[in-house]
Symmetry: C2
Subunit: 262 residues, 2 copies
């Protein structure tokens, strides 16, 4: 029997109400809710594969998943059909049909995470669930200087959870950008892969630098030492958002072009 | 015994997790949470008066309350002290000491509400809890024309809940402004007072006009008829935000100047 069409689905979620992306028995997770909706919709179990896990409380603008549909609605209707069945805190954005060689996790070539700091004296009504409130003045120039030392291929052992499951801790960071938007500071990280808590520890360390508690010049030593204890604190999860996931264009399907206004 | 200092407190809240502002036994309300925090803080019951109720699910950028403190922290420390004790979805913004003649509700001279529509094809991650998603095209010019007919002093019986408790339904609407911000359309209503569901029914009617289901020229007739059934639907509560409350400057205290970036 054919396993049917392979569907690639882009979805956002407000991580506030989820115990992370990955299914866990008895807990509300994004994968769990999505698989439950597909089961109710189609009467058969449809396993969902994501581009990667996100931790409890972390948001996504554009998580990518794939699943195989033996039957069901045409792909053009998929977003609409799912939107009516999913809870409001999961936002399906786009879907296309892809080659069966496509895999949401194994085919990833690049990911972007965005971490948002709220620098206002008091937390914002609209952003308090999507940002880390850091009201002290930060030295942005020092943070930018520190970020430059992080670019390129490094062993990021110092910047991931001590218990991170991956054995190979070498990753390539292609871009760290700072974008100011009112009282908010968005820090974007683009790279070929991220270790557990990596973005949150990078942000915790950049904020430590911004507060003058660490020198930007120390970053190369911290990388070199491969010792988690030398980096800064793990920034809270609710400031983090999985922003974008990229795949080789060879996997075809129409290009999913997301506006920045999500 | 002196009732002590009268404190005016400005607070924002995310209405998503509250059964409205007004205390209700056994339900989580803004007034209830605030009074509970004051009781635990001071060991005595401190009744809180608000500028008015907000319905279940309605947000506030700047609700104003007052209460009398027999002792307790200096007013300069009030926001900081409360922020540490209140849950994250109540955001104290400013506090000052006011004359005992000041009353959060009876002294109001003007209020502003903001209603947010999200006109994007799909709801936004950051705005889905703070806006009404209306993806169909709207005729903004027709809506603006309709809004003009609402300005001034009118009997708003047609635009409030049939069971609204106020006997006098005459209110003065000073300003209805439309502000575009990306895919969002903020509609601001400023007036000397608002009846139950009034802003939400005004918005429901403006959207009906925007959809071409009602002519802007019909607004004067609808006002005249004093019949709720002639107006549009009641827009959902989560798009509504109590934006500002104004008092005569004679009540003194320092001017509370709120940035727009809340």
């Amino acid at each position: 029997m054919s396993r049917g069409r392979r569907i690639r689905l882009v979805l956002g979620y407000d991580g506030s109400g989820f115990h992370g992306f990955a299914r866990q028995e008895g807990l509300r997770t994004v994968q769990g809710v999505l698989e439950d909706v597909l089961l109710r919709m189609l009467g058969t179990e449809i396993p969902v594969e994501g581009s990667g896990r996100t931790d409890r409380g972390v948001h996504a603008r554009a998580q990518v998943v794939h699943f195989d549909l033996p039957y069901g609605p045409p792909v053009e209707r998929m977003v609409h059909v799912l939107r009516r069945r999913l809870p409001a805190d999961i936002l399906p954005r786009a879907a296309d049909e892809v080659d069966e060689a496509f895999h949401a996790r194994f085919s990833v070539v690049r990911k972007t995470y965005r971490y948002t700091l709220d620098l206002a004296p008091l937390p914002s009504l609209y952003w308090y669930k999507f940002s880390w409130h850091v009201p002290e003045p930060l030295d942005l120039d020092a943070m930018k200087e520190a970020a430059k030392h992080l670019l390129g291929e490094h062993d990021f052992t110092s910047f991931c959870a001590a218990e991170a499951p991956q054995r190979d801790k070498v990753r390539r960071l292609d871009r760290v950008d700072f974008r100011r938007d009112g009282s908010r500071l968005h820090v974007e990280f683009e790279g070929n892969g991220f270790l557990q808590y990596m973005v949150r520890i990078l942000v915790g360390t950049l904020v430590k630098v911004g507060r003058g508690k660490e020198s930007p010049d120390r970053i190369p030593d911290i990388l070199e030492a491969r010792d988690r204890r030398l980096a800064g604190e793990t920034a809270p999860p609710h400031g983090l958002c999985l922003w974008n996931v990229e795949y080789p264009s060879a996997y075809g399907g129409k290009v999913i072009d997301l506006s920045d206004d999500l």
